[in-house]
């Protein structure tokens, strides 16, 4: 049943027009490691901007040190700031994925009998060069870059892609007349034609402060800005990446920056928003909260901000300050919180703030005095201490306790301090910082400070000047920085700074951190720094331990003042994601020489490579040899005995009465004569007053699958027989802990009886269930045997900790995963985690992992002539709040997270991204339930629905480390060619980002499975799926369902050179592709599996798609060209399972499409990767390696071979 366009339409030699000439030379951006994805931004009193990464432990000076800043306001991936020149700047963090925008111009032509199609149009026609509507004249050279921060990626070129189909003849599309529907084919009545020219521009000013251009009319231009706030990223959903940027001018006016979004980081223009008073400060939350402070001390709250109206809102509402004598000086808002600082530096929390009541109800006074506070991501709060100018973090802010518990000072040092302490051996221990000798040691440290980045701004010649004279420029700089920033909120700093000029002192250290006691203003602004007790740790462990915590409430008499902390002026947490479980190194003084201490980041922790560890392993082996080798015939002192664990569980009785039955269970473990252990699980039940039991030999169990839902902690137990029946033993425990204990124990018993322990082999087969659980199976050599392969229902699957949506492996041992939230993860080589603790888990390489997904419910309404749309439906209608099918009632209040592992992290919000589109309020209309819905109302529509989404989050652990910062949609690793063990090259890995960018990972190797950086591969549209085959053949599928082949990919040219558009099977939109050693398979939206016919080394694009099977969700083609899929439905003898692992049987070099299916584990499986399994059956290895594993022969021989593809997998 071969299908697909005739190969004739594709000549073997590709005409130049089919290449996309645009494809720019891929550009290598700085590694993401240089700019953390999550960081706290702060400005010190000198106006220098620092970032503190959540993964790091030092403040890093912002790369662009030319400017001094008054204020900054951060979002993830970018930060806006007001510099001391009163100009607004935006700092867009570097990323491996460029910000690129497409410009398009249409070329229009009309046919005339003399010259055929030509540029001469009728007078009534559109411009020969125009925009898509034809109304605007748009010559190619008239399209200019919007600002100096953009550059052209390439020249103009013609778009060959027309709705997923390649066009011919230069991209022309034809119509009867303008404006009309255009078609690919030229007909007798095609009087006009047009084609699209495209060109990309890139934003180039990344990792630097880019001045916001002021093209506006000078009269309209705002006076210098005084405050600025960035937020609003949660008002609309991603792709757009909208940002709300608000600013306040010195005259007290409020301005809004139009059109700021991720693809347009600068926005377009400033527009004035009227306010009823003179504004001094503004704060915009991630969602719809916007508060400003008035000069008089009240706050103004903007009401009516929503998705359709992120800017204007409807009206202002005044909120009075907590006390009339001390007005509000500063406010900061989050998603559902408002914090304020009054003029007496007291900190206030606003009670009762939410979307419906943005004003809240009342003020609560908090402990502590702050210069300012800032609400960051997840409503976490940061502040600058009034006394010590340290940055404080509000600890214990959770959704249930938004006001948090206590202020905790960040004592992280700066990078310059680190180089300082690292350079001097006298400063090895933190205790030395408190001693007198540090001052004396300053001179010896001076050379190292010259290297420090903070010195970049100092003019070169001054480096030779004696240390004493360095003080004056620095002090004046400090005062000027503070002076410029001396708006109504920072007089304090100015006061502090001015005495500094009067009392210049010799100050050899540019970093205040090293000798803070010398800083002039410490005597004025701060109380005498409290020196920590210089007792040694061993003398008094209790007190020493306390001081190392650095956590003293502000209210204490003697404020904690780490001797080496910088003085801060401003902090912004809008780009800083604080995970509640994450261990940060910000709150303890780091010694800087902690090479022997375990650190989190590298895949192999230093502890595991340490000599002491190797020595212990070695000595233990020697000891065993010494003490046991010659004495094995001795009797054991303790005889091995049977061990029984018993407990109470519930068991699903799958016949009458079809319910959960209380049962006693017993696991009997015993050791056989050969030392192998085996176990039997007994389930004792009583049904209809009859005592019975069933038992399972654990060495026959093929997998244990946790089935968590909101009601039960249960798990399913499969054997080969029960896999065939689609009928597992289901058991439930009373508590999650109880279930985890049983699961871990049973898993361990299964693994031990099969002797499957430790790290999975590099050839392991990985899979993921619809619950995100990860399973791995060791392939038997017989699995791909040509004759009598091992039935795949006998495969043993064991669970790995973690939560993923996609997992892809290669036989180099490199395994990558993608979470539901798009986070990319790399396998660390550990095992266990999650509920597998203790023996079932490796000691190292297990890290915290979190994932976020959305739960969707639907609001359904019916129209009636009197009241219009109401939530009163017909008696026959679905529930007015339901799931997608309408069958299950799902109310906002009654819907719980998927299981107890998940917790809500957002409120319900309307989901506008549903297919079919929505109206501005999110409604979709239809004539009746159930029907196809559309995003606009017509006369025939009597029902409507809208989708509500709520995010929930899971925190677990597993052998996975995050590969930040780019979220992914798909990933593929090159399979190892059988028989080749080439080394030296890095391992090719391709991915598609969640936004549809195609990426190629550089530097991936067995030792560094995470790789180093992304290389962006340009495309003209967002992509969905990518796969790289054994010989660097890269295939990809775009979101519009069309397929592409990437030309010339090789180790030396990892990103290849250009895309070739491959027509999809007729009337099908492809959604996924997988490339094995030579075979290429793809799955379309309708569940059809297609095999690419005619792929040869000289003609890698193949000739046509041939249908293999339907009922397929996902395909994985491996290095032996073996084909495995996730089948949609498989019928067993007892029930049906959806989402089943299936193995294509009869796949041979001459029969690459195979003959039938073998059914494996199933019921809820979502993803499989067999791409690591290059294990060939040993007995046939000799025949196979004799060169038979060549390419499939030409189409003729395949056509003569039996074409009987077993159609539907089941039912």
């Amino acid at each position: 049943m071969g299908a697909g366009p005739a190969p004739a339409s594709y000549a073997p030699a590709f005409p130049a027009a089919e290449r996309q000439p645009s494809d720019p030379a891929p550009r290598r951006w700085p590694s993401p490691a240089t700019m953390p994805s999550s960081a706290l931004w702060a400005v010190d009193l000198f106006g220098r901007v620092y970032t503190l990464s959540t993964a790091g432990q030092y403040w890093e000076l912002c790369k662009d040190t030319q400017l001094e800043f008054k204020r900054v306001s951060a979002a993830t991936q970018c930060c806006w700031g007001i510099a001391c020149d009163n100009q607004v700047y935006v700092y867009v963090c570097a990323s491996d994925v460029p910000i690129r925008r497409q410009e398009e111009v249409y070329e229009n032509q009309r046919w005339n009998p003399v010259g055929g199609f030509c540029e001469k149009l009728l007078p009534s026609d559109r411009w020969p060069w125009s925009d898509v509507s034809g109304l605007q004249h748009r010559p190619l050279d008239g399209v200019v870059l919007p600002s100096p921060h953009w550059e052209w990626e390439s020249d103009w070129y013609v778009d060959e892609n027309f709705g997923g189909e390649p066009t011919e003849k230069g991209g022309w599309t034809y119509a009867i007349d303008f404006p009309a529907t255009y078609t690919r084919d030229k007909k007798w009545n095609s009087y006009v034609r047009r084609r699209r020219w495209i060109r990309y521009r890139r934003y180039k000013s990344r990792d630097t402060w880019a001045k916001i251009p002021s093209k506006d009319d000078p009269k309209q231009l705002p006076d210098p800005f005084n405050d600025l706030s960035v937020g609003g990223w949660e008002v609309t959903d991603e792709p757009v990446g909208h940002l709300s940027v608000w600013a306040v001018s010195l005259q007290g006016k409020v301005w809004y920056r139009e059109d700021v979004s991720h693809p347009n980081p600068e926005g377009s223009s400033w527009s004035l928003v009227d306010t009823p008073g003179e504004v001094v400060q503004i704060s915009c939350g991630p969602h719809d909260l916007l508060w400003v402070t008035l000069w008089e001390g009240q706050a103004l709250v903007r009401e009516g901000i929503n998705r359709n109206n992120p800017k204007v809102g409807s009206s202002w509402c005044i909120v009075e300050p907590p006390t009339s004598e001390n007005g509000i000086m500063h406010v900061s808002v989050g998603v559902g919180v408002v914090w304020a600082v009054t003029k007496d530096r007291k900190v206030w929390f606003r009670r009762g703030v939410n979307s419906h009541n943005p004003c809240g109800t009342s003020w609560i006074e908090m402990v502590g005095e702050m210069m300012m506070v800032n609400v960051g991501l997840n409503d976490q709060v940061w502040g600058i201490g009034c006394e010590d100018r340290a940055v404080y973090f509000r600890q214990g802010v959770t959704p249930s306790e938004l006001s948090g518990k206590t202020w905790k000072a960040i004592v992280a040092g700066r990078e310059c301090d680190r180089s300082h302490s690292g350079s001097s051996s006298s400063l090895l221990s933190a205790g030395c910082f408190f001693g007198d000798e540090v001052r004396g040691g300053g001179d010896s440290c001076a050379p190292s400070d010259v290297d420090a980045s903070s010195e970049a701004e100092r003019p070169g010649p001054e480096q030779a000047v004696p240390a004493g004279s360095l003080e004056s420029p620095r002090a004046s700089k400090g005062s000027s920085a503070a002076g410029l920033g001396a708006s109504k909120t920072t007089e304090h700093a100015a006061e502090a700074a001015s005495p500094a000029d009067q009392t210049p002192r010799p100050e050899p250290h540019p970093c205040p951190a090293s000798t803070p006691a010398e800083l002039p203003w410490t005597n004025i602004d701060l109380k005498e720094p409290k020196k920590a007790p210089s007792q040694s740790a061993a003398d008094c462990p209790e007190t020493a331990g306390l001081s190392s915590l650095g956590m003293l409430p502000l209210g204490l008499e003697e404020p904690y003042c780490a001797d080496d902390h910088p003085l801060w002026a401003w902090v912004s947490g809008g780009g800083c994601a604080m995970e509640p479980h994450a261990v940060l190194k910000w709150f303890t003084v780091q010694s800087g020489l902690s090479s022997s201490v375990q650190t989190l980041s590298p895949a192999i922790t230093p502890a595991q490579t340490a000599t002491w560890r190797k020595q212990i392993f070695q000595q233990l082996t020697e000891r065993t040899k010494r003490e046991l080798e010659n004495f094995r015939h001795y009797e054991q002192a303790v005889e091995q005995s049977v061990w029984v664990k018993t407990g109470s569980l519930q068991w699903w009785c799958d016949w009458k009465p079809h319910k959960w039955v209380d049962v006693r269970v017993a696991l009997e473990q015993f050791k056989g004569h050969d030392g192998a252990r085996d176990s039997i699980l007994f389930v004792y039940y009583v049904v209809q007053e009859e005592k019975k039991y069933l038992h399972v030999f654990l060495n026959e169990v093929t997998t244990l699958v946790p089935v968590l839902n909101e009601a039960k902690h249960s798990f399913a137990l499969y054997t080969p027989e029960r896999t065939r029946q689609r009928w597992p033993v289901r058991l439930a425990a009373a508590t999650e802990q109880d279930m985890n204990d049983w699961l871990a124990l049973l898993n361990l018993s299964c693994c031990e009886s099969r002797r499957v322990l430790g790290r999975p082999s590099p050839q392991a087969i990985w899979s993921v269930t619809c619950k995100g659980d990860i399973f791995v199976s060791e392939p038997s050599p017989d699995l791909e045997a040509p004759e009598h392969p091992l039935p795949c229902d006998q495969m043993f699957w064991r669970q790995m900790g973690g939560h993923l949506r996609v997992v892809e492996a290669s036989s180099h041992g490199v395994v990558w995963g993608i979470g539901y939230d798009g986070t990319a993860w790399v396998y660390t080589g550990g095992y266990g985690g999650g509920c597998f603790q203790g023996l079932a888990s490796s000691t190292g390489n297990i890290y915290t992992q979190s994932d976020v997904k959305c739960v969707h419910i639907y609001e359904n309404q019916r129209w009636n002539p009197v009241t219009g749309y109401t939530s009163r439906g017909l008696p026959t209608d679905r529930h007015m709040w339901s799931d997608a099918t309408g069958l299950q009632e799902c109310t906002k209040a009654g819907t719980k997270p998927p299981s107890l592992q998940w917790a809500w992290v957002s409120d319900w919000s309307v989901d506008f991204s549903v297919s079919g589109g929505t109206d501005p309020e999110g409604w979709q209309y239809a004539s009746d339930f159930p029907s196809s819905y559309h995003g606009y109302k017509t006369m025939r529509d009597f029902v409507r629905r809208r989708c509500w989404a709520r995010k929930c989050k899971l925190v677990t652990s597993g052998p996975w480390l995050e590969v930040s910062p780019i979220a992914l949609g798909d990933v593929s690793i090159i399979p190892e060619s059988p028989g080749t063990t080439e080394s030296g090259h890095s391992i090719a890995l391709w991915a598609v980002s969640d936004k549809g960018d195609v990426l190629c990972r550089l530097g991936v190797s067995e030792l560094n499975p995470a790789g180093s950086s992304w290389l962006h591969v340009g495309t003209d549209q967002p992509f969905a799926s990518v796969s790289i085959g054994g010989d660097y053949q890269v295939w990809a599928v775009a979101r519009d369902g069309s397929a592409f082949y990437r030309g010339s990919v090789s180790p030396s040219q990892p990103a290849g050179d250009c895309w070739y558009h491959i027509p999809s099977p007729p009337k099908q939109r492809l959604k996924q592709v997988s490339v094995g050693q030579t075979s290429v398979c793809a799955v379309d939206d309708n569940g059809n599996l297609w095999y690419r016919q005619g792929v040869t080394p000289s003609y890698p694009q193949g000739s046509s798609w041939e249908h293999v099977s339907n009922n397929v969700r996902r395909v994985s083609v491996g290095p032996l060209d073996q084909v495995w899929v996730i089948a949609n439905k498989v019928q067993g003898s007892h029930s049906l399972s959806r989402g089943t692992v299936c193995h294509r049987t009869g796949v041979q070099p001459l029969e690459p499409k195979g003959q039938g299916w073998d059914y494996g584990i199933g019921g809820g499986w979502d993803h499989i990767s067999i791409r690591a399994n290059a294990t060939r059956a040993s007995k046939s290895a000799s025949q196979e390696t004799s060169g038979e594993q060549g390419l499939p022969s030409g189409p003729s021989s395949v056509a003569s071979a039996p074409q009987e593809a077993v159609g539907p997998v089941c039912c």
Partner: protein, 275 residues
């Protein structure tokens, strides 16, 4: 790469080949053959010598039998010390198998505790586990456990069931993620050269500056003579489970992996044998 879990197994399954001989002065009806046994290093002598007792009692008259006790080269063996510790401390330099003399008379009251039943061993073992958890977690973990968990720890040791024991013991080896280790490390340092039975002090796994304390740090602090012997050249061996970990080994790691089932690190300081 080998996993740290393997260390736990190696430690648990450590065996000492032992040759039991009846004391020459014991009155027997016929000659007593020596008895050979593999003793688990982590267990207690009186817990694993039922077979030895039976073997020798067969050749003795009932009236000549009182409480059994063991001795190695004249030193009575304390049953309440783990077997591995006794061996490391007293016999690590002698040839294998370990020669132990069995006595049924003249119980050395001043050297040994009586061990009338296995309940006494259990009580001793559990009190050690509790003391260790008091040091590690202010007793929070052990107190949160159920009676059956305590029983499982004991039965795991009693029956030499590694996974049965570790299924529970792992909870005793956990510590809060924000800490870098236990509160204090449960350890005891034994020296044959001193009168003191052992040294035990409060010692934290992490220094105030965040550095992990090492075995060397511990010894320097609580037993400086072990690392820097006063009489010059004579060196000491620092031995746990028959191996000599490097002094750079982090103490927290040692505590998690090389503790005996009673959750203590039993460290032997013995003079370097002169070969």
């Amino acid at each position: 790469m080998t996993d740290d879990k393997d260390v736990l197994r190696d430690v648990w399954f450590g065996r000492i080949p032992t040759c039991f001989t009846l004391y020459q002065d014991e009155i027997t009806e016929r000659e007593a053959e020596p008895y050979y046994l593999l003793l688990p290093r982590v267990s207690y002598l009186t817990l694993v010598t039922d077979k030895v007792k039976k073997h020798f009692q067969k050749v003795m008259r009932q009236e000549d039998i009182s409480e059994i006790w063991f001795e190695h080269e004249g030193t009575p063996l304390k049953w309440h010390y783990p077997i591995g510790l006794l061996f490391d401390l007293l016999a690590s330099s002698s040839a294998l198998p370990w020669n132990i003399t069995v006595h049924f008379k003249s119980f050395p009251e001043k050297d040994l505790l009586h061990c009338p039943s296995k309940d006494v061993i259990e009580a001793h073992f559990m009190s050690c586990v509790k003391e260790a958890d008091a040091l590690k977690h202010k007793s929070q973990v052990i107190n949160e456990m159920q009676k059956k968990d305590h029983k499982q720890l004991w039965m795991g040791l009693h029956n030499d069931r590694f996974d049965q024991f570790w299924a529970i013991n792992r909870k005793l080896m956990e510590y809060p993620a924000e800490e870098n280790g236990f509160r204090y490390i449960p350890f005891r340092i034994y020296q044959t050269t001193t009168e003191r039975p052992f040294i035990q002090k409060l010692f934290r796994p992490v220094a105030t500056d965040g550095q992990l304390h090492t075995l060397g740090d511990l010894l320097k602090e609580v037993c400086p003579s072990a690392v820097a012997p006063e009489d010059g050249g004579k060196k000491n061996q620092v031995m746990i489970h028959g191996i000599e970990p490097m002094l750079e080994t982090p103490l927290q790691w040692l505590s998690e992996h090389l503790s005996y089932p009673d959750n203590f690190l039993h460290i032997s300081i013995i003079p370097q044998p002169v070969d």
